[in-house]
C-alpha cells in the first residue's frame, strides 16, 4: 500500500474502515474508482454527502426519513390505530417487503441488553409510551427478534404497556417456510406446537 501515491493510500485507508471491507478489497475498490470516469466518482461522492445531509430520524416513528416525518407516517392510507414495534429500520424494511402489515411503525433503535449496559433509557421506549398516551392507538404489535434480548424487550414492553389499556400482540414464531423439521431446535418446535392453529 505504501507504494501508492498518498491520495490513493488515503482512499484505501478510508474504504478499509467500512464493515466487511479488508485492505485487499479496499485496494480493489480504490482502483475501480480510479479507473472510472470522473462523473461516476463525483456521483458516488455526492450520493454519500446527500445521504449524510438529508437523512434523519422521523419525529413520529424514529425510522429513517428525508423530512420531519417519513413517507410511511405521512401515508394517510395506512391504519394509524395499529403500531408495529421493531428493533431497527432494517426490520421495518423486512416487514414492509412481506406486505403483511398496513399500520404504522415504531423503531426502538435497539434492544434491551443487560450485558452491553443498554437499559430502558437508552432506547425509544419513553417515546413509544408518550405516543400511546397521546391517543388514537388501539393495538401494539411487538415484533422484536426472538433472541434472548428481543424476547426480554418484548416482555418488558408488555409490562409497561399493560396499564395503557391498548391491545398488545406479539408476532408468532415457529418453523420457517421451507424449513426442515429435523433441523429446527427444540425451543422453536415447542413454541410452534404451543401456538398451533386450527385449519
Amino acid at each position: 500500500m505504501n507504494y501508492y501515491p498518498s491520495a490513493i493510500q488515503n482512499l484505501i485507508k478510508r474504504l478499509g474502515r467500512l464493515p466487511g471491507i479488508g485492505e485487499k478489497s479496499a485496494e480493489r475498490l480504490a482502483m475501480h474508482i480510479l479507473r472510472s470516469p470522473r462523473n461516476e466518482a463525483e456521483q458516488l461522492a455526492r450520493a454519500i454527502l446527500d445521504m449524510k445531509d438529508n437523512i434523519r430520524l422521523c419525529a413520529i416513528c424514529f425510522g429513517l426519513s428525508e423530512g420531519e416525518t417519513c413517507s410511511l407516517c405521512a401515508d394517510s392510507r395506512r391504519n394509524p390505530g395499529i403500531v408495529c414495534v421493531v428493533e431497527q429500520p432494517a426490520d421495518m424494511i423486512s416487514m414492509e417487503r412481506s406486505g403483511a402489515f398496513f399500520g404504522r411503525y415504531h423503531i426502538l433503535q435497539g434492544v434491551l441488553s443487560p450485558l452491553d449496559g443498554i437499559g430502558p433509557d437508552n432506547i425509544r421506549i419513553r417515546e413509544l409510551m408518550s405516543r400511546i398516551e397521546s391517543g388514537g392507538i388501539g393495538e401494539v404489535v411487538i415484533a422484536t427478534s426472538t433472541s434472548v434480548e428481543g424476547e426480554a424487550t418484548a416482555a418488558y414492553l408488555h409490562d409497561m404497556l399493560q396499564s395503557t389499556g391498548v391491545k398488545i400482540t406479539r408476532i408468532a414464531s415457529g418453523v420457517p417456510m421451507g424449513g426442515d423439521l429435523k433441523y429446527v431446535d427444540q425451543a422453536t418446535l415447542k413454541k410452534a406446537m404451543d401456538t398451533r392453529h386450527e385449519f
Partner: protein, 262 residues
C-alpha cells in the same frame, strides 16, 4: 488438528462481520472458551436457534489453521432455558451471573464446581423454584466461596471476635477487608454499610446450603434487600470491575420503584 467435545453454557455473543458470531462459552471440563461460529447468523441448519445466551449446549470445536480463534463445528441444545427470556428481571439476573463468570474466569482454566453452580442457578431461575433475588444472593455467596474470596461472616474481620457473642443488632461491613466488623472495631468517624444479624445469619446459611435446601428458605424482604445490597457492592469490588448488567439491574429496580410510587 485438536477437536474438543464438551458441555457448555453461552456467556456472551458478539457479532463478527456479516455472518459470523464470536461466542464465549463456559464449559464443564475446559473452563472458559472463546470460539468463532462461521456463518452462524445466516445458518438455518447447523446453528439455527441454538446459540442463544444462557443455553446449555453440547459443542464440538476444532483449532483453526492459523492463529485465529477455535472454530465451532457443532452445537446441539441441551437446555434452552426459554423461561429466562420471558421476563426482563430473569434475563437481567442471568446476565449478571454470566458477566461475573465471564470476568472472573481465564480461558482454558476449568472450574467444574462453578460450572455446576451456574447451570443449577440458571435452571432454578428458568423453573421458577426460587425468586430471582434470593437466587442471586445464593449464586453470589456460593461463587465467592468457590473462588476463594468469600466474605468473613462468622467473626470480626479485625479482632476475630465471634459474631454470635456480640450484642449489637447491626454489624458494620468493611468491603475492602472482606467481611464484617464487631461493634468495637467499626469506624466511628463515618457512616458505613451495615448488616443486621438476621441478614448475616441468612448469608451464613446460604454459604453452607445447597440449591435444594436454599429453595426451602423464606427470608424476610428486608434481609434479601440488605443481602443483595452488600453482595452487589462486595463482588464487583473484589472482581475489580464495574459490571454492565449490574448497572442495568439497578436501572430496572429504579423503574419498578417509580411505577410502584406512581
Amino acid at each position: 488438528m485438536t477437536c474438543i467435545s464438551t458441555r457448555a453454557i453461552v456467556l456472551r455473543k458478539i457479532e463478527y462481520g456479516d455472518a459470523d458470531l464470536i461466542i464465549t462459552l463456559f464449559s464443564s471440563d475446559q473452563g472458559k472458551l472463546t470460539v468463532i461460529a462461521k456463518g452462524a447468523k445466516k445458518s438455518r441448519k447447523r446453528f439455527s436457534g441454538v446459540l442463544e445466551l444462557f443455553s446449555t449446549l453440547n459443542i464440538v470445536t476444532r483449532e483453526s489453521r492459523g492463529r485465529g480463534l477455535p472454530i465451532l463445528q457443532e452445537a446441539s441444545l441441551i437446555y434452552p432455558f426459554v423461561n429466562i427470556r420471558s421476563g426482563i428481571e430473569k434475563t437481567a439476573y442471568a446476565s449478571y451471573w454470566s458477566e461475573i463468570v465471564n470476568v472472573w474466569m481465564v480461558d482454558g482454566q476449568k472450574q467444574p464446581g462453578l460450572y455446576s453452580l451456574l447451570e443449577s442457578c440458571l435452571d432454578a431461575l428458568d423453573q421458577g423454584h426460587m425468586t430471582p433475588d434470593i437466587l442471586s444472593v445464593f449464586f453470589q455467596i456460593q461463587f465467592m466461596k468457590l473462588c476463594g474470596f468469600g466474605p468473613t461472616l462468622f467473626h470480626c474481620t479485625a479482632c476475630c471476635q465471634d459474631m454470635m457473642e456480640t450484642q449489637s443488632p447491626y454489624m458494620a461491613v468493611d468491603i475492602a477487608r472482606g467481611g464484617i466488623l464487631c461493634h468495637n472495631c467499626q469506624p466511628k468517624s463515618f457512616s458505613c454499610q451495615n448488616l443486621s444479624k438476621g441478614t448475616i445469619k441468612l448469608l451464613q446459611w446460604m454459604e453452607k446450603a445447597d440449591a435444594v435446601r436454599a429453595a426451602r428458605l423464606r427470608p424476610t424482604p428486608c434481609s434479601i434487600h440488605e443481602g443483595l445490597d452488600f453482595l452487589e457492592s462486595f463482588v464487583p469490588h473484589h472482581l475489580g470491575k464495574q459490571l454492565h448488567s449490574l448497572t442495568f439491574l439497578r436501572q430496572l429496580r429504579a423503574v419498578s420503584l417509580n411505577r410502584h410510587v406512581c
